[in-house]
Symmetry: C2
Subunit: 193 residues, 2 copies
DNA sequence: GCAGTAAGGAACCAATTGGTCTAATAAACA
DNA sequence: TGTTTATTAGACCAATTGGTTCCTTACTGC
């Protein structure tokens, strides 16, 4: 009995996520965000409430789309731990950013230098917004904590009993997560491939 | 034959550095910056020109104060590579943020929770400003590249010929730098200690 | 004392920020 | 057809952004 929403909420959030991914939270302003989401200011505030809410939903979508598959691999009891960890790092190396690549292609000319990635939204956001907003910080820290635990689960399934300190001890999962985050930050800077 | 500058340029930049360290570049606004530097708007623009210029100088000061000592250790030919690398990570763990601790103490009550650090200005800035300003990105990437090279120098001086993939191969220095950056990002988030 | 410079403070600037509101239109369903 | 709701575009908002200008007040060395 009423006009249905013309845009898809999830699609709009996905477009927002891709912009936040590239720009970071602070550097994303409303006009650009509305442009990327392809909705009007009115629809934006009616459907989502605020920029911060959209960012939190984008973070949640990022988790579902990019983080959880990795966590599933790390926690997959049928896969040896070393193999799971290697697979997660390999996925990060391969870009793991379809949507980003797409939006990048739209921005650059004819796909030249289109190989550059924006790293990891979660990792970048951790560095940027840690001290600014408690809600955002909580959401990010929860995701990072999940990731660390998943690395721990994979480490616990290791088949080889090697002596690498990186893969043993109480802080081994933390250290693996550090490597992952650092990789993705330097990847964003273009210094790691 | 003229009135001398009443504030010390380097001290002002140091205060700015500490604020940028805590807040990041985008989230630092002029009034807060002037307040932290304890100079007036007029003096600010006469002496430095712009917020961006101040940030670049703060980055340079950070490099001199916090990055170069680490690089010197890593490149110290008299110290075994493993030892140098361990020392750099240990320094990062210890906080390595005197100025920041001081400004933190001023913000919080009576020093409670004063142990929290802001991670590493360079690492956080790498994540935040990579795609926004070319000058800033260049300055950051140059510093990161120096750091990676220094890790490489330390690796080349290794005494033990262990089989850890982390410490061998062409990308070993890059991997060490990743660990370092990731450590400091998670440190800022409070998830690594 | 005087020239020269820097200080602080405040007024002022245009542009942008995230966010609100209105009015007209459009689509669905009963 | 009428009710309901979502749509768009745009005006509008106060607050904030980084930055400029100006005036008065120091302070220095000659």
């Amino acid at each position: 009995m009423a006009r249905p929403r013309a845009f898809d909420i999830d699609e709009a959030i996905e477009k927002a996520m891709n912009l936040f991914w590239r720009m970071g939270y602070n550097a994303t302003n409303l006009p650009e965000l509305l442009d990327a989401m392809e909705i009007s200011r009115g629809s934006f505030y009616k459907a989502f409430g605020s920029k911060k809410d959209v960012f939190l939903r984008a973070l949640a979508l990022y988790e579902r789309t990019y983080v959880e598959p990795g966590i599933a691999v790390l926690e997959n009891a049928d896969m040896p731990g070393e193999q799971a960890i290697a697979a997660v790092f390999e996925a990060a190396k391969q870009g793991q950013s379809d949507g980003v690549q797409a939006s990048l292609g739209a921005n650059l000319g004819a796909g030249q230098e289109a190989k550059r990635t924006y790293g990891c939204l979660l990792c970048s956001a951790a560095a940027e917004t840690a001290y600014h907003d408690a809600d955002i910080a909580d959401a990010i820290n929860a995701q990072l904590a999940r990731l660390i635990r998943a690395f721990g689960a994979a480490l616990a399934r290791q088949t080889q009993d090697d002596a690498e300190p990186t893969t043993h001890g109480p802080r081994a999962a933390e250290r693996l997560a550090q490597s992952y985050v650092g990789f993705r930050i330097l990847q964003r800077s273009g210094l790691s491939a």
